[in-house]
C-alpha cells in the first residue's frame, strides 16, 4: 500500500478517482461548479496520464447519451454535471437507470433556477431519486474520492449493473481544498473489475445480435421494472461489501449505508446528508459538552434508502430531526419524508429546512436545532410543519 496525500478540491478528488479507476470514455459538458472536474480529466487525458476517449459533447443530454452508448459496448464510462445540466439530461438519466447501463456520474449539487444560483442545494439530485441510480452523498473530499472509486465497482457488480451517482456539494466540497489520500494505482486495479470484462446487462456485438430497449407490452413491462428494483436491493449488500474491501486497501472502511456519530447513547438524533453533516458532528460535540444527549446519522446513500439502519439507530430515541437542503413544495423536506417512512411513527420526527441556494448551515444553526429538539422531547411536544432555519421573515411582512 503506497499512500500519497495531496491537497485537493472535491472536484479534483473526483478527477483523480476517475483517473485511478481507468474510466475509458468520458463525455461531458461544462457547467459551474462541475467544470474543474472535466477540465482536470481533459488534462489527464491530453497529458497521457489517462488512456480514455474524451468526448467534448454539445450538451448534457448528449453527454448522458454518449455514456449510455459507451456503456452498451462494455466500456467504463463517466460524466459529471450539476443542477440545470442534470435536469437537461434527465430523460437519459432515466434511460441509463431503467436500461441498466453501468456508469458513474458525479453531481455537484447546485440549486435549480430561478433565481439563478450556483450554490448548493440537493433538489437537482433528489429529482432523480426514482430512476434506478444508486445515489451517494459525500461529506468530505476524501469521501468523494473513495466513493467515486467504489462506485465503479458497485455499478459493474453482476448483482447490481446499475449506474451510480456521487453527489458533492457546490463549493463547500467542489472548490474547497483539503488533504486527500490517494490509493495506490495497483490497489485500485485489484479492487475494480478488469476493464473490458463486463458482459452484463449485454454488450453490443454483431456476432450476437439482439435489440435493446424495444417496446414492451404491458404483459412484459413490470418484470423490467422489478429487475431494477431487485438490483437496487442487491446493491445494499454490494455497497457494504465494496466499502469493506476498500477499507482493506486504504484503511478507510465504508461498511454501512449510514454513518452514525455518537448515536448509541443519544436521546435525540439529527439526520442529514452531504457536506453539512460535518458541521452537525461539531455541533453534537458542543451539545454534549453542554449536557445535551444528541447524535447524528449521516445518510451516505439516498438510494438504496437505508430503512433498516435508520430504524435500528432511531429505536428508542425521544426525537428525530431531519435537516433538508432541499424542499418539495406542498410537502416539506424530501429527506424528512423518506426518514419518516422508515421510522413509521415510532419516534416523533421534526423537519428542518436549511441551506437552500448555498446559504450557510453553521455549527451554531445545528446547535440551535439540537437544543430545540431536546426541548421538544423534554416537553413532550408534537412535531410541527417544517422549521425554516435562518429565514429572513421580515421579507414577508
Amino acid at each position: 500500500m503506497v499512500v500519497v496525500t495531496e491537497v485537493l478540491t472535491g472536484n479534483y478528488s473526483v478527477a483523480h478517482a476517475v483517473r485511478l479507476s481507468r474510466a475509458q470514455v468520458i463525455a461531458a459538458y461544462p457547467i459551474t461548479p462541475q467544470t474543474t472536474i472535466v477540465e482536470k480529466i481533459a488534462q489527464f487525458v491530453e497529458g497521457g496520464e489517462m488512456n480514455a476517449k474524451y468526448m467534448r459533447v454539445e450538451s448534457e443530454h448528449s453527454a448522458m447519451a454518449a455514456c449510455i452508448g459507451a456503456s452498451a459496448t462494455g466500456a467504463r464510462a463517466f460524466t459529471a454535471t450539476s443542477s440545470q445540466g442534470l435536469l437537461y439530461m434527465s430523460e437519459l438519466v432515466w434511460w441509463a437507470g431503467l436500461g441498466k447501463f453501468p456508469m458513474v456520474m458525479a453531481v455537484v449539487t447546485r440549486a435549480m433556477a430561478p433565481p439563478w444560483s450556483i450554490w448548493s442545494e440537493h433538489n437537482d439530485v433528489l429529482a432523480h431519486r426514482d430512476c434506478g441510480w444508486v445515489i451517494f452523498f459525500a461529506e468530505s473530499n476524501q469521501e468523494v474520492l473513495d466513493l467515486t472509486i467504489q462506485s465503479f465497482r458497485i455499478s459493474e457488480d453482476e448483482r447490481v449493473i446499475q449506474p451510480v451517482m456521487v453527489s458533492l456539494d457546490a463549493f463547500i466540497l467542489s472548490h474547497t481544498a483539503t488533504p486527500v489520500s490517494l490509493p495506490d494505482q495497483s490497489d485500485v486495479d485489484d479492487f475494480l473489475p478488469p476493464l473490458g470484462s463486463r458482459r452484463l446487462p449485454f454488450i453490443l456485438d454483431p456476432a450476437n445480435p439482439a435489440a435493446y430497449g424495444n417496446l414492451a407490452y404491458p404483459k412484459d413491462f413490470m418484470e423490467f421494472r422489478y429487475e431494477v428494483a431487485r438490483s437496487m436491493e442487491h446493491a445494499r449488500d454490494v455497497i457494504v461489501e465494496a466499502g469493506r474491501e476498500y477499507g482493506k486497501i486504504t484503511g478507510r472502511y465504508y461498511d454501512s449505508l449510514v454513518e452514525g456519530y455518537r448515536c448509541s447513547d443519544a436521546d435525540v438524533v439529527l439526520i442529514g446528508m452531504g457536506s453539512s453533516v460535518g458541521d452537525a458532528k461539531d455541533a453534537v460535540d458542543m451539545l454534549r459538552d453542554k449536557g445535551y444527549s444528541v447524535g447524528v446519522i449521516k445518510l451516505r446513500t439516498l438510494r438504496p434508502f437505508p430503512f433498516d439502519e435508520i430504524r435500528d439507530i432511531s429505536r428508542g430515541k425521544k426525537f428525530v430531526g431531519v435537516v433538508d437542503r432541499d424542499f418539495s413544495f406542498g410537502f416539506g423536506g424530501i429527506g424528512y419524508g423518506e426518514v419518516s417512512s422508515a421510522i413509521g411513527g415510532r419516534v416523533p420526527v421534526q423537519g428542518f429546512i436549511a441551506g437552500l441556494g448555498g446559504r450557510d448551515i453553521t455549527v451554531k444553526d445545528y446547535v440551535a436545532i439540537g437544543e430545540r429538539l431536546v426541548d421538544m422531547a423534554d416537553k413532550g411536544l408534537e412535531p410541527m410543519s417544517p422549521i425554516w432555519i435562518d429565514l429572513k421573515r421580515e421579507v414577508f411582512k
Binding site: 463525455a27 476517449k53 448528449s62 459507451a70 459496448t73 430523460e91 434511460w95 473490458g196 430497449g213 414492451a216
Partner: protein, 306 residues
C-alpha cells in the same frame, strides 16, 4: 456509381414478419443498409417508426444489434458507442444511426450537429418520410410546402428544411442524398460512406403511403417521381465536392424535369393544395436547382489532399 443488382448480397438483414405498414419505405432502407454493409455493424434507432418495425420485446426483426434510444439522442449515443468500441480496441464495427426526419431535423438537430462538428466516425442515415408518421402524421420541419398533416390541415406554410446542406456546412467528409426508389444508388452511397473515416450523413427520401395518402403499391413510383420532378435531387458531397448522381444528373436542364403536378397528384396529402401553395412549391424546386447550378459552376477544385 450504383452497385449492379446481381452483385447485391442475397442475405436479408431485416427479417420477415416485422411490423411495418404495407408499402413502408423504411423497410426498403433497412434491408439495403444490410446489403451494403454486411454483418459487422450496429444500429442506433431513436423514437420513430423503426422502433416499432424492429419489433416488441422479446422479438426483433433485425439481424444486427439494435440499441434503441431517446428521441433526441441517436447521434450522441452512436458517438458514445464508437468511443466505447475504440476504447476496447474493436475498430472494425460500423456504427450506423437510422433516424426519422423528426429525430434528425427537429428534436435531434443539436446532437446531429454535435456529432458532425466532432467528425465522429459514424454513418448517420435519416430516412425522411416528411412528417412525424409514428405519432400520427404531424408536420415536421422536413414536411414540404402545401402538404396536409394532422397539425397542418390546410397545408404546411413553411418550406422543407435543407438538412443535407446544413450537414455539408459542417464540412464533414461525406454527405449524400438518396431515395428508396433508387436502392442501388443508396447501397453504393452507404458503401462509400463506410469506406470514409469521420462523420458521414445520408439523407434518404422515403415516401410513406400511410402519411402521404397514396396506395401502398406506389411507394417506389412516388419516390421516383420525387427525384424525376427535381423535388428531391440525388447528389453527393465528398470532401466538399458536389456531384449530382443517377437520374438527377440530367435534371440541371429544366426541360428534363417532370412536372411537379405529376408527383403531387398521386398523393392525398396534396389533394387540396392551393394555387398559391403550388406556385410556392414550384419556386422551391426552381430555387433548389438554381443553387445546384451555382454549386456546380462555382465550386473549388477538388483537393487531392483531402
Amino acid at each position: 456509381m450504383s452497385v449492379p443488382l446481381r452483385k447485391l448480397s442475397l442475405k436479408e438483414y431485416l427479417l420477415p414478419g416485422q411490423a411495418s405498414c404495407p408499402g413502408c419505405p423504411a423497410t426498403i432502407g433497412l434491408r439495403m443498409i444490410g446489403k451494403a454493409l454486411g454483418d459487422n455493424y450496429v444500429l442506433v434507432i431513436p423514437a420513430c417508426c423503426s422502433t416499432i418495425i424492429i419489433g416488441p420485446y422479446p422479438n426483433a426483426s433485425s439481424r444486427v444489434p439494435v440499441l434503441h434510444i431517446g428521441f433526441a439522442a441517436s447521434a450522441s449515443t452512436a458517438s458514445g458507442i464508437k468511443a466505447g468500441f475504440d476504447a476496447l480496441g474493436k475498430h472494425g464495427i460500423q456504427v450506423v444511426v437510422w433516424a426519422g426526419d423528426g429525430g434528425t431535423a427537429d428534436i435531434g438537430m443539436a446532437s446531429l450537429s454535435g456529432f458532425a462538428e466532432r467528425n465522429d466516425d459514424i454513418i448517420y442515415i435519416c430516412y425522411d418520410n416528411e412528417a412525424y408518421m409514428n405519432t400520427g402524421i404531424q408536420r415536421s420541419s422536413a414536411t414540404p410546402i402545401g402538404a396536409w398533416t394532422t397539425t397542418t390541415w390546410t397545408g404546411k406554410v413553411e418550406r422543407k428544411k435543407d438538412i443535407p446542406m446544413i450537414m455539408a456546412a459542417h464540412k464533414i467528409p461525406y454527405v449524400a442524398t438518396a431515395s428508396i426508389a433508387y436502392p442501388l444508388d443508396f447501397v453504393a452511397k452507404v458503401k462509400k460512406a463506410a469506406s470514409i473515416r469521420g462523420a458521414k450523413y445520408i439523407h434518404l427520401h422515403s415516401p410513406c403511403p400511410t402519411g402521404w395518402k397514396f396506395p401502398s403499391n406506389k411507394t417506389v413510383e412516388v419516390g421516383r417521381l420525387a427525384v424525376q420532378t427535381g423535388m428531391w435531387p440525388l447528389y453527393e458531397i465528398e470532401h466538399g465536392v458536389f456531384k449530382l448522381s443517377g437520374v438527377s444528373k440530367a435534371l440541371v436542364d429544366k426541360s428534363k424535369r417532370r412536372l411537379i403536378r405529376d408527383y403531387l397528384k398521386l398523393q392525398g396529402r396534396f389533394s387540396k393544395i392551393s394555387d398559391e401553395q403550388l406556385s410556392a412549391l414550384q419556386r422551391y424546386v426552381d430555387e433548389i436547382w438554381e443553387e445546384i447550378v451555382l454549386k456546380l459552376n462555382g465550386q473549388r477544385t477538388p483537393s487531392t489532399s483531402s
